[in-house]
């Protein structure tokens, strides 16, 4: 009986000799794309880092790096400052989330929007605004020093980087921790209090312990962002050299360019981030447990002195986080003669910006972002489907490869693309294509993660139902699966859009006059010391991201915000 039954089936299979259905084609196409635009450039960086000027194999760049305390110091500095930023972000972000989740605060929505806005702002605006406020000629510096009998400390260096990045990145912690605190079932807390665990003790014994996996995930995100950040240490770091700045100097610096050495530094940076990534995975595994969703805890109204302190904490923190952007927008209307701000207000800065590629910058920014996002969404949805529904070694390999950019500092990706596409047959360097490829690579991992997570929660039976009703595989996918994934992917996509608009660290290596974006224009103006122009560009960038986010937050439930 069994042989008779199985024979026709085997025959049916044989009619498609390689099992080449639509999805196999898709997965091979994705493999090809990732191979060409991700693995090949990364291989290029690796190769660049181990060749000498004559083309021979050498480890001299690494030796030079490791032998010189100055260079090792840059990675050490990056590491130390990133750890500090992570710790400070947790220290201010966790209480923020705690109060936000467990108290019914007036203006809670405002606080949340402020947090998201400051987190999504362009990477260097915070640093620039804080320099204008607290730098050598800063307004606040002059004001304070005229009042205070002592000199206030310097904003430049380690402290400045930590200040700027922590205020920018703590909302990441908050968004994650809000979700984690919200998911703690009220009865767990009641059970704890019946067993003598109350107050701060309960916060530590139960609430923090329950959110350790989230804390670890958020820490990794903050660390990665801080470690790969280029704009902030470049502007405010001064003597405190980080490795991202060093790569930039070695690659594009005005004196002593050394592309091979830059590549070597990049490789070392990637090794560090990979190690941190693996360490985090290890730690997360040790603390993993499943938290059943339950009824969230009732919010309380804050009362008395404690309540006042909570309000003060929340609003002061958000005010500080928003201050740079508001200040920049304000300054963009101030008169100036390039070097000093003058009294009075006008639109002169914007007029000047018009003459400095403003139109092209805006056009490029929007165009690149739209195209890149379309590609990201398409590839993410396809890949998520392949990984979740048709797991096989090829698809899993593509999935793993697609996550590589997550641990790669933007500068390394930038260098990789330049090396890979500098010469025929694919001479893309300097074109819009390479900018778009860079943006896609940089942001893809986040969207893939959210698409995969969304799809995992969709029951397979829905597609099977469509298939049983006569829909083809493709039709079932496009008409059933994709629409159901829509909401989850779309919400991530908007944030990706903002992230793309403010992309900086890889773009700085790839852009030229034709492919300049708003972020680049703003950065160029800052480095040229042109206050008015810098503020105008930054203000436009800030307002653009704010408007995008406002629209996004208007239509998104807070629970769905993922950064």
């Amino acid at each position: 009986m069994t042989t008779i039954l199985t024979t026709p089936e085997t025959k049916a299979r044989r009619s498609r000799p390689l099992g080449l259905d639509v999805w196999t084609t898709v997965s091979l196409a994705l493999l090809l794309l990732f191979g060409l635009f991700l693995l090949y450039p990364m291989f290029g960086v690796l190769k660049e880092s181990v060749v000498d000027p004559d083309g021979g194999l050498t480890l001299s760049h690494f030796v030079r790096f490791l032998a010189n305390d100055y260079y090792v110091g840059t990675v050490r500095n990056s590491f130390v400052v990133s750890i500090a930023v992570t710790v400070v972000s947790l220290a201010i972000g966790v209480p923020f989330s705690y109060f936000y989740t467990y108290y019914r605060l007036r203006g809670a929505k405002l606080l949340f929007v402020g947090a998201v806005l400051s987190c999504m702002s362009a990477p260097f605006i915070g640093a620039y605004a804080w320099i204008l406020l607290l730098g050598r000629n800063g307004v606040a510096t002059q004001l304070l020093e005229s009042v205070l009998p002592f000199k206030i400390g310097s904003i430049y260096g380690f402290g400045g980087i930590v200040l700027v990045l922590s205020l920018k990145l703590f909302p990441l912690v908050s968004v994650y921790m809000n979700a984690a605190f919200r998911s703690i079932d009220g009865s767990l807390l009641e059970a704890a209090s019946l067993m003598g665990s109350t107050g701060l003790r309960r916060v530590w014994q139960v609430m923090i312990r329950l959110t350790v996996p989230t804390l670890l995930a958020a820490s990794l995100l903050v660390f990665m962002r801080a470690f790969a950040d280029f704009g902030t240490p470049m502007l405010i770091g001064e003597g405190y050299r980080t490795f991202t700045v060093e790569i930039y100097n070695q690659y594009l610096g005005e004196v002593g360019q050394n592309h091979n050495f830059a590549a070597a530094i990049g490789i070392i940076g990637v090794i560090v981030t990979a190690a941190v990534f693996l360490f985090q995975k290890f730690a997360a595994n040790r603390f993993s447990f499943s938290l059943k969703a339950g009824s969230p805890v009732q919010k309380r109204r804050p009362r008395g002195i404690g309540g006042a302190l909570i309000y003060a904490y929340m609003y002061v923190l958000i005010a500080l986080a928003m201050l740079p952007q508001l200040y920049i927008v304000y300054l963009s209307f101030r008169n100036n003669n390039q070097v000093v701000f003058l009294p009075g207000y006008s639109l002169d800065n914007y007029r000047m910006a018009m003459g400095r590629l403003l139109g092209r910058s805006v056009y490029n920014t929007i165009m690149f972002a739209v195209v890149a996002l379309a590609i990201i969404v398409l590839v993410s949805v396809l890949l998520a489907y392949l990984v979740v529904r048709r797991a096989n070694p090829v698809n899993n390999f593509v999935d793993t490869v697609s996550m590589l950019p997550y641990i790669m500092p933007g500068a390394v990706i930038g260098i990789g693309l330049v090396i890979a596409f500098n010469s025929p047959p694919l001479a893309l360097t300097g074109t819009a294509v390479v900018m778009i490829v860079m943006l896609v690579i940089r942001r893809m991992p986040y969207t893939i993660r959210s698409a995969t997570a969304t799809l995992m929660h969709l029951p397979m039976s829905i597609e099977e139902a469509a298939r049983s009703l006569g829909a083809s595989k493709l039709k079932a996918f496009w008409r059933i699966t994709v629409p159901m994934m829509g909401a989850g992917v779309a919400s991530g996509a908007v944030l990706s859009f903002v992230a793309i608009v403010t992309e900086m660290s890889a773009g700085i290596i790839l852009y030229n006059n034709r492919t300049i974006t708003l972020t680049m224009s703003a950065y160029v103006a800052i480095t040229r010391g042109s206050y008015g122009l810098a503020c105008a560009f930054s203000a436009i960038l800030t307002v653009l991201t704010a408007v995008l986010l406002a629209i996004y937050l208007r239509f998104t439930r807070e629970e769905d915000v993922r950064m």
Binding site: S187, L188, E190, L194, M195, S197, T198, R209, L210, F289
Partner: protein
């Protein structure tokens, strides 16, 4: 160690809505006391007031002689088992059980041995060092029970503890709960909406509706002599027939759907002449296919369930009734068959016209409020 609980004129309001309008009851030392009622009847609200998670708007709650209205939940010496178990997912089973002891000043050695004792009591030794997410619902509920009891609380509160389990496990676990409660001898307040579960575990049951205790009694009392029609319908199944009560020659007669029955033992009958509600449980009907007198009825269909056969019949006034009979070999009552029903007269209950008072006991909800 266990205490008696006295609840006096307790009121609970959420904003404008009053959930419990003023409730008084008494729970004895070591008693297994169940709050039973449909959802929204205020049973969980009352339980959470005992635990201290809900404020008490007015009235008092005493544990023995101590008023505990304003005592922190953590100071009430309460063990609680939650509907979703509330097991800490980040702690092993053993750590979960030890949690409460570690927060008391119990020496480390004793923490371990006492936790072990309760882990053995609920028979979860095999899983003691595993993480709880590996455990089935029933095992998790055992952990919750051990964790609630290990600190030797004075009161055990259980909030629909079995409602997330499947039917078979629910029956098994209610035996476990009952047995352990008896062994520990702790005063227990148990909330459920499952009347069978309530009858299986409880010493006494308070049937609640709209924040009011409709009847307080042993499972037997509630089943056989429900205080009102609501209780009669909520506990077990009941057929409600419209009847006319009259008294003739000192005999109480009830006319139901074309038949007049003599119903003895109705002390409140004289005041209730006129329309009444007759509550007949399916097994209180007598269906004898050879009978020629009684309540005429037409068989709609029968369902054979092994031990019993359920018949669904229609009375002359259109009322549909259910009758349970022990199954016989040769019994075949085809749909459409005309039969006469009798009732077990000493068992059935007769209520006044609005179903508020049982004419057999004369009791009403209001009278049941008096502490036992």
């Amino acid at each position: 160690m266990s205490v008696a609980i006295t609840v006096k004129d307790v009121v609970k309001r959420y904003g404008e809505t009053t959930v419990i309008p003023g409730l008084t009851t008494h729970i004895g030392r070591g008693e297994f006391f169940t709050l039973l009622g449909p959802s929204g009847c205020g049973k969980t609200t009352l339980l959470r007031m005992l635990a201290g998670f809900n404020t008490v708007e007015s009235g008092d709650i005493f544990f023995n002689d101590v008023r505990i209205n304003d005592v922190e939940p953590s100071k009430r010496r309460i063990g609680m088992v939650f509907q979703n178990y509330a097991i800490f997912p980040h702690l092993s089973v053993r750590k979960n059980v030890e949690f409460g002891l570690r927060n008391m000043d119990v020496p480390r050695k004793e923490v371990r041995s006492r936790a072990e004792e309760y882990i053995e009591l609920v028979q979860i030794e095999r899983w003691a060092d595993q993480m709880p997410d590996r455990l089935s619902g029933g095992q998790q509920q055992r952990v919750a029970l051990a964790r609630a009891l290990v600190t030797s609380p004075e009161v055990l509160l259980m909030d629909e503890p079995l409602s997330n389990l499947d039917a078979k496990l629910r029956v098994e676990m209610r035996e476990v709960v009952r047995e352990i409660q008896k062994r520990v001898g702790i005063t227990t307040v148990y909330v459920t909406h499952d009347q069978e579960e309530a009858m299986a575990v409880s010493d006494r049951i308070a049937v609640m509706k709209d924040g009011v205790i409709q009847q307080l009694g042993t499972p037997r009392e509630l089943y056989h002599r429900p205080a009102n029609l609501f209780v009669g319908g909520f506990i077990g199944r009941t057929n409600v027939l419209d009847g006319q009560l009259h008294v003739e020659n000192g005999q109480t007669l009830v006319t139901v759907a074309g038949a007049t029955l003599v119903v003895p033992g109705l002390p409140g009958a004289a005041d209730a002449v006129g329309p009444v509600k007759v509550a007949v449980r399916p097994e209180e009907f007598v269906l004898d296919s050879s009978a020629t007198t009684g309540i005429p009825a037409v068989v709609d269909h029968g369902v054979f369930l092994g031990i019993n056969t359920h018949y669904f019949l229609t009375l002359r006034d259109g009322t549909a009734v259910e009758v349970i009979q022990e199954s016989e070999f040769d019994e075949v009552l085809e749909p459409g068959a005309e039969v006469f029903l009798d009732v077990k007269r000493h068992k059935i209950n007769v209520f006044d016209r609005d179903g508020a008072t049982n004419l057999r006991t004369g009791s009403t909800a209001a009278q049941q409020q008096v502490p036992a």
